[in-house]
Subunit: 146 residues, 2 copies
Amino acid sequence: MFSKACEYGIRAAIYIGQQSASGRRVGLKDIAAEIDSPEAFTAKILQQLVREQLVTSVKGPTGGFELTPEQLRTVTLRQLVVAIDGGAMLQGCALGLPQCSAKQPCPMHYQFLPIRDQLNELLRAHTIGELASKVQEGLGFLKQFS
Amino acid sequence: MFSKACEYGIRAAIYIGQQSASGRRVGLKDIAAEIDSPEAFTAKILQQLVREQLVTSVKGPTGGFELTPEQLRTVTLRQLVVAIDGGAMLQGCALGLPQCSAKQPCPMHYQFLPIRDQLNELLRAHTIGELASKVQEGLGFLKQFS
DNA sequence: TACATACCGGACAAATTTGTCCTTTAATTT
DNA sequence: AAATTAAAGGACAAATTTGTCCGGTATGTA
């Protein structure tokens, strides 16, 4: 569905959000450990998110990553996905036709349309803050325990 | 959504189906030209589909690819996708958790479930023959004209 | 039987994605 | 101010996906 980078990015953002909601700023090492992702690769992805201002970072001792109250409230899953994977998967043709549209639809065009619309709607409807709360309440997990 | 290989594979299968429905067997060169795909790469993908018996091939002069009436009637989009991309995208967790399930769901688990179910249903519901007819009737396209 | 045709299969190459390492930059603490 | 901490950024490496090339194999035709 999404790229690895995107999966890590979303998990990281939610974890940062969860901690930010409790007033804690978190470092890269902590993040990678908590979401079970490769540290250096996760750093790259977070850099992207910081550049896009979807996540906030602070350098130096006591530094780390955090989400402002506004970011918690307004940044959606969709913004993360677009920032990391680009819009292609949320718009492009399922069969890869470059100009697929009602004008010259691929054979699956009208069947896929509602599903893609729902996916877009879904991603737009959920903020990082909301997902972070879910994790905080033990209703969702960012890595698996045994 | 799907890999390039999968996109080419689906388009190729539908084109072969369209021609088979009219009693024509088609060669690789023809296929690649009609669906606008790299020839040698398309050959690899078709080999896979032939091995899985989703497509039939005949060697030698007058040879080529075709779909038997049974293949036209029974092979679904889902079988093509699984043969080429594997089942991961049709089952795996959206956030990449290896063991995501109701037991330890990711924060988006229950939101994604209905969408993934619909996608599976959609892929299962459409046969190559059906999609080939759509193209034959001019209601769907496998490449774009200008 | 010889030849031509067209798929098969393996090796190879390019491009992209995933992942690592190390130096630089910024900020806090002593 | 110096030392320490942690993110930023660039270069590099591994893995996967995408794509090519070419000799081998099967099949139909003369």
